[in-house]
Structures are given as structure tokens and as C-alpha cells.
Symmetry: C2
Subunit: 454 residues, 2 copies
């Protein structure tokens, strides 16, 4: 976001849908005077200028100088404050034609409607009090969600789940601060008698902060996905399983890209949880330096895995290398050994192994359930307030620290005017989370991650 983004009086516009041939495309405009400006580029202009808020006008976008018609459109009119940004706004539903869209955007630019920066519409919504920062953050998370559960969590945040939770904590802190303030009004020698710190409130505030903090791991998992790694000796059937998983899980459109590096990666959705699936180079003692490097990297991928699926070739049976790997990882709760080629194998699957055939898909459902179960183990179900923003996490940690310092200070008999600073700092951290307190830097970083048109 560049400097002028902070000027919320500009008229701005952006294509809010992808720049690609399609049935429809939406150009979003906002800012004081935008309805009149758009009306001057519209026929019938009067209908647009006089349209009530939340109504739709059919007409043509035309160049006022040449009279050239650029497109036939529907114009949705929003009047402040009943709009996304809180300002007067117009959204044009145009034909999804590349030259047409380019011509319209060029016309708008010529006519003084500036191209919006990423996130600028949401930024204005925040500035105009239409949403707090936790909701604003949720907007972009919804757009980039990789699974339906991630999208649900972000929807939850958008509806204010975090804000509500934060406000509850702030209420408790405000109560504590009020009590401390009263004590400060009294002469110092009377203090000890007068200060009554509601320890239940203090406890509860701390608990709530910690509870919210504890959701960060889950939130992150839903945002960034779980790293599910397929590994095993060469020819154990890793790639067959990789393809089988991709074929079965169609809930997310994913492109498998053979990277220049030597593993394959793809997004899938397992029980609503976004999963980054990795297929790695088969493990073996290799002479070939390229293959060696591949195996070294496979090791790295395995080290960063959240869940490891280890395939053993059930026909070949367990090798020494398999035994070594299993020994090393058997204690890992997120390690799942698979007995592959079970349809051809003469041998029973060893204890703890899931029998599977990556070719016939036999055993695949059991595997899927096992993975989903481990993913959700110890994780709360995706409802309620779940944070996934590092910014929010760090501020919550700071608030928690402040409360700990406050309690310790109290126990050590520190003077109340010093202690009250801790409470105020905790409150400030919470205020920063919702955006009551904030710096341009934070806003800048946050909104520049957005896509244009949001």
C-alpha cells in the first residue's frame, strides 16, 4: 500500500474479479462524490445519480467526450454509510471482456478515479468503523482459504468471533484498572486498605488470553495446511499413493507441479483440513549425486512433516532400512506406517501397520480416517474464536506477560501506580488487536497482503 492509500477522500476503483475472459466482471468504485462521478460516465446518468442506496440501475458506460459506449452494465449503488467501505460506492457488473474492462478502467483513471491499492476498500471499511482489524484480517483469509474448514474459521472471524472474545477480556481489564485508579486517588498511606483487586477477574482475563493463544496452532494449521509427507524406500509405491490421494480428494482444485526440486507437492483437503501433500524421493544409498541430493531433501521434508506416511513394500517385505526408519520414528504420534501392495503380498501386515493397495485403493478409506483422526487429535473443532494471525498471537502473548508481571508485582508489594502500567499495557495490546490502537506500520503491512479490489 503506498502513501496515498491513506487519503480516504480519493475516489478509487478496481477490478474486483480476475482479469480473465468470463461471463461477468465487477468493477468496484468508492469515495465521496463517486455516485455523481459515475453518473457523468453513465447513460442514463440521472437514474444513477438519483438511485436510492442498495438499488441496481441498468445502463451504459460511455466516454463523456466521445460518447463512445464502452459496455452495457448493471450499476449497484450504495450510499454512505450503508456500503462495504462506509462511503458512497458503485459496483459495475460488466461483460468479462479484456479490452472492455481495460477501456473502462482507463476511462475511470482519466476521469480522476484512482486505481485502488491492495486492500484499500477494506482499509476504508476499517477506518470508517465498518469492521475492526480482526474482521479485516479475516476478509483476506476467506479469499485465500485452502479448504472449506479454513474458510469457515475465517467466516467466524469475519462475523466478529475474535473481537467479541477480546472485548470480554477488555471488560475485565477495565474493571481492574478502575479499581486501581480509585486507589491512586487516595493518599499513599491509605492505599493498602483501599485497593481491592478482584482476583477472579484477573484470573479470568489471563485464562481467556491463554485460551485464545492456544488456538493459534489450530488456526495456523487451517491457514497454512498440514504437511503430510509420503516416504519410504524406492519402489514402495509412494507415487501411486500420491496419485491415488489426489484422485480421490477432489474438494480442492489443485495443480500438482513437478518442481525443479525433486519432490512433488500438492494441496488437498482432508476432512476439511487443508493438507500439503509431499511425495519424496525414495530412500536408499545412492551413488548418483543428483539422487543423493534428492534423498537429502526428502529427509528435510520428513523433518518438517506434521504427519508421515511411511510405505513398506508388502511384497518385498521389511528391509533393514525400513527397520531403521521405523525404530527412529515409532514413538512419533503422527507417524503412520503402511503395508503397501497388500493385494499382492503373501505376508500379513506387521502389527501397527495399515494394509493398503495404492493400486486397487483397498484400505484407502481406513488410511484417510486414520489421518483425519490424527489431524484432529487434541485440536478443537473449528468453531468459536480461533486466531491464525501472528500479529494477534504476539499481541496476546504480550498482554499475557503484562498480566503475569502485574500479579508478581502485586505479590511483591510494588506500588500501585507502577503496577497499573502493566494493566494499561495489557489493555493496549488488546486494543491493537482490534485496531483501536494502531500505527500506520501495522496497517501498511496488513493491508498490503490483500488482493486488489478488496
Amino acid at each position: 500500500m503506498n502513501k496515498h492509500s491513506y487519503n480516504r477522500e480519493d475516489m478509487i476503483c478496481a477490478l474486483a474479479t480476475p482479469m480473465a475472459e468470463s461471463a461477468l466482471a465487477v468493477i468496484r468504485c468508492s469515495g465521496p462524490g463517486i455516485i455523481e462521478k459515475c453518473a457523468s460516465l453513465f447513460k442514463p446518468g440521472k437514474s444513477l445519480a438519483e438511485a436510492a442506496g442498495n438499488t441496481i440501475v441498468y445502463g451504459k458506460i460511455l466516454c463523456p467526450e466521445t460518447g463512445r459506449v464502452l459496455d452495457e452494465v448493471l450499476a449497484s449503488v450504495f450510499r454512505a454509510p450503508r456500503s462495504y467501505t462506509g462511503q458512497d460506492s458503485v459496483e459495475f457488473s460488466c461483460h468479462g471482456s479484456l479490452p472492455g474492462l481495460q477501456a473502462i478502467l482507463a476511462l475511470f483513471q482519466e476521469q480522476g478515479i484512482r486505481q485502488a491499492s491492495p486492500g484499500e476498500f477494506t482499509f476504508r471499511a476499517f477506518l470508517n468503523g465498518k469492521m475492526d482489524l480482526t474482521r479485516a484480517e479475516a476478509v483476506q483469509e476467506i479469499v485465500s482459504a485452502k479448504s472449506s474448514a479454513s474458510q469457515s474459521l475465517a467466516m467466524n472471524r469475519l462475523s466478529g468471533a475474535i473481537e467479541k472474545e477480546i472485548n470480554r477480556i477488555k471488560d475485565d481489564l477495565l474493571g481492574l484498572i478502575a479499581a486501581v485508579s480509585i486507589s491512586l486517588d487516595y493518599p499513599e498511606d491509605e492505599v493498602d486498605d483501599k485497593v481491592v483487586i478482584d482476583s477472579e477477574k484477573l484470573e479470568r482475563a489471563g485464562d481467556h488470553i491463554r485460551r485464545l493463544l492456544a488456538t493459534y496452532g489450530t488456526g495456523q494449521m487451517y491457514r497454512d495446511g498440514v504437511r503430510l509427507v509420503l516416504t519410504g524406500q524406492t519402489n514402495a509405491g509412494k507415487s501411486s499413493l500420491f496419485n491415488l490421494i489426489l484422485r480421490e480428494e477432489r474438494s480442492i482444485v489443485s495443480d500438482v507441479h513437478g518442481t525443479t526440486r525433486d519432490y512433488l507437492e500438492s494441496w488437498i483437503s482432508l476432512g476439511g483440513i487443508p493438507v500439503r501433500l509431499f511425495d519424496t524421493a525414495g530412500l536408499r544409498d545412492a551413488d548418483n549425486p543428483v539422487e543423493k541430493e534428492g534423498i537429502r531433501r526428502a529427509g528435510e521434508i520428513v523433518d518438517q512433516a506434521h504427519i508421515i506416511l511411511y510405505l513398506v513394500d508388502g511384497v518385498r517385505g521389511m528391509t533393514v532400512e525400513d527397520e531403521e526408519f521405523l525404530d527412529k520414528h515409532k514413538e512419533d504420534p503422527f507417524f503412520i506406517p503402511l503395508w503397501n501392495k497388500a493385494d499382492l503380498s503373501q505376508k500379513e501386515a506387521p502389527k501397527g501397520f495399515l494394509p493398503l493397495s495404492a493400486v486397487t485403493a483397498e484400505g484407502f478409506e481406513t488410511l484417510e480416517k486414520a489421518v483425519s483422526k490424527r489431524l484432529l487429535e487434541g485440536k478443537l473443532p473449528p468453531e468459536g474464536a480461533v486466531i491464525d494471525s501472528l500479529r494477534q498471537k504476539e499481541l496476546l502473548e504480550e498482554a499475557a506477560d503484562c498480566l503475569v508481571r502485574f500479579r508478581e508485582g502485586m505479590e511483591q508489594g510494588m506500588p500501585m501506580d507502577v503496577l497499573s502500567e502493566d494493566l494499561r499495557n495489557a489493555l493496549n495490546c488488546l486494543g491493537e488487536i482490534t485496531g483501536e490502537v494502531g500505527t500506520e506500520d501495522i496497517l501498511d503491512t496488513m493491508f498490503s497482503r490483500f488482493c486488489v479490489g478488496k
Copy 2:
């Protein structure tokens, strides 16, 4: 388009914007009862159900069974007949989130709102008399237009330019048919006295049909683009010029793709005309079979060119091969010889050559003007009714033939009841163009070319 598309009583839905992460996405729904159906999946449902036409309601899409919120959206409500399709319609402006959109489309499907076929919304618009066939054809042409002028022409058609022209011709034909019909009411022996064929009308109808037919070449050029081919000996600088043209012409986003074949192709827009630019393999006697094949294909590309830019290396000077090529093509009005590397060359450009440096861009503007001029030579400016549909062209030709037959028959003294058939056939052809007369086959072919959501 499959069979059930013809059932216009179904509720249908489609994502009308591209399936990609973006700020907004639009899901279009239409059909009898669609507002009530959507209201049952919406909160506040009552606001949606009771919304006036052309108004916008803010709310949430939710699963009626689980209560799960799928997205916060704006719902635009259109009431029949004031909608694109002429039926009750709802358009949801959603977050551009892939899992979110998939979830909503799945919910709609479950709830009996069928996925629309390509072009089905426009098809319904046609069936409900919202637009004639020439306008319906224009809809898809607008979306896939490759330059602003092509888009303008299609806009013209969408506003009914062809329909108006056709109706004018039909009026004349109807006048003629009326006159003939009167004559048929009289006993045969009185006919010759009574039939007064308004030859001016007949002339005019024929003229208008021919004039419209004559626009086909231009229309096609604007739809399919002009083939502009760069050729010349190896090292004449063709690829530098190719890159220069692409860098200078940014009016269309184009991806240059190195095809597996041995030439490069890219879309550009020159003076508003869409141009397909080809860079070909250098011409020379090659031993290498791959290169030989490349040169053979370059020859094919040159043969299909609308404009040939032939580059001669101004430093090396004219070679025997250059002379041969020039001799073969010099009469071609769309052949432009270029004296490249003019900045380094010691020699004057030969007569008829444009001096150019593909490296410094010197002479590029002159070249551009020369190309634009030749493109537009003999072509009418892009306004008025211009046809680009083969269907329309063939029907116009048939109508023209009918009129010729009618005139000849008249001159040969054929009986009026036979002649009147020719007039009726001509009228039928025109009716087919606008879609008054039509067969399922035509509709099927035409609308299946559309993108989904249109």
C-alpha cells in the same frame, strides 16, 4: 448445451466470474421460484423473499439443515420480466474464495438449483424475447473480443445494429409480398394488370443485403484478427522486431508462447485491430531436418498471412534469396519490406523499403502507421452494423440469391404464385438471422460456444 437446457422452467445457477482467488465472485441464479428458493438458503430470508426487483440485500448464505454459514454476500434481486433472462433472478456477490464458492455451488445443487449449461442464461433471454439472436451472438463476442475495436463492434451488435438493419430490409420485403399477395387474389387473367412490383423497394432490399454482406470480411478481421507475419533470412532481426512490437503494444495482455512448433505467435492490438503476430524460422537452405521442417512451416504461415513484414539485414545487404522472395511478393499490396539494422547499415534503404532498427526502435512508428494504414485500406471504419457470424453471412447470401431469382423470374414472366415463394424464402432467411424462425440445431450450436454463466 444438453437436452435439459431447453427446459426453461428449471432453476439454474452458475459461477459467472472465473474460478480463481479474487476479491469478489458472482454466482448467478435464474428461473421461476428462484427468489423464494434462494431466500430459504439466506439469512435474513424474509428480506430477500420480499425484496423489490433491482434491489440489493445484505446477508448470509447458509445451509438450511446445519445452519452453517457459507459466506457473507450481497444478493441482487431481479424480478421477471426485468432481468437478464426475463425470469426471476438472484445474483450473489460472494467472496472470491475457492472452497467457499465450491461449497455454495454444491449447496445450490443439493437444493435443486441445477448447474447452468454454457450460454443458458442468454438462451433464456432469447426465448423470453429479451434479445434477438444477433444480439445473443454479440454477447459472447463481447466477452471474447481481442481488441477494443472488436469489442466496440460487438457492443454495436448488442445494441441491435444488425437487428435494425435486418428489420429495415424485412419491411421492404413485406411490402413486396403484400403487393404480390393482392395480385394472387385476382383471377389469373387479370394478374398482369394488377401486379405492381415496387422495383425501388426490391432494389433497395437487395442493396442493403449486399452492403451488410460486404461487412463480413471486416467483421471477421475484427473477430479473428489479422495475421501479421515476420519473415526474412536468418539473422535479419525478426525476433528482435517481434519483441519490440510486443513491448510497444501493451493494449492487450498477451502471452507469447513458444509453441512446440517452430514459430511464435502472440495477440497484439494495432490501431484497435486485433492482430495475430507470427515470428517464423529464418529462411535459408538448411541441412538439419528439424530446421528444414521449420522453414517449410514458415512458408505455410507466410502463405496464410494477411500482412507480410519482410526483413532484410541492412548491414549484410540484399542477398540472392532476398531478391527472389521480393520478386515473388512485390506485387502483393500487403507486403512490407523492411531495411533492418538501419542504425548500423552504411547503405541507403532501397526504394520501397522502410528503414528500421529493431534494436533502437528507430523507424518503428512509421512501420506501425504503415501497417495500420494497410489494415484499414478499403475497410470501413468500425461503426454501423458489421456482421462477423458465418451463420448470418450464409443466411444473407441465401436471401440475396432469392431476390435475384425473383427478379429473373419476373423478367421471364414466371407466374406470381411461384415467384412469391422466392420473396417468402428471402424473408425467412432474414427471420432466421434474428431468430424469429429457427431450429433447435441452430440454437444448440450457437449457445454451446458460450461460456458458463452467460
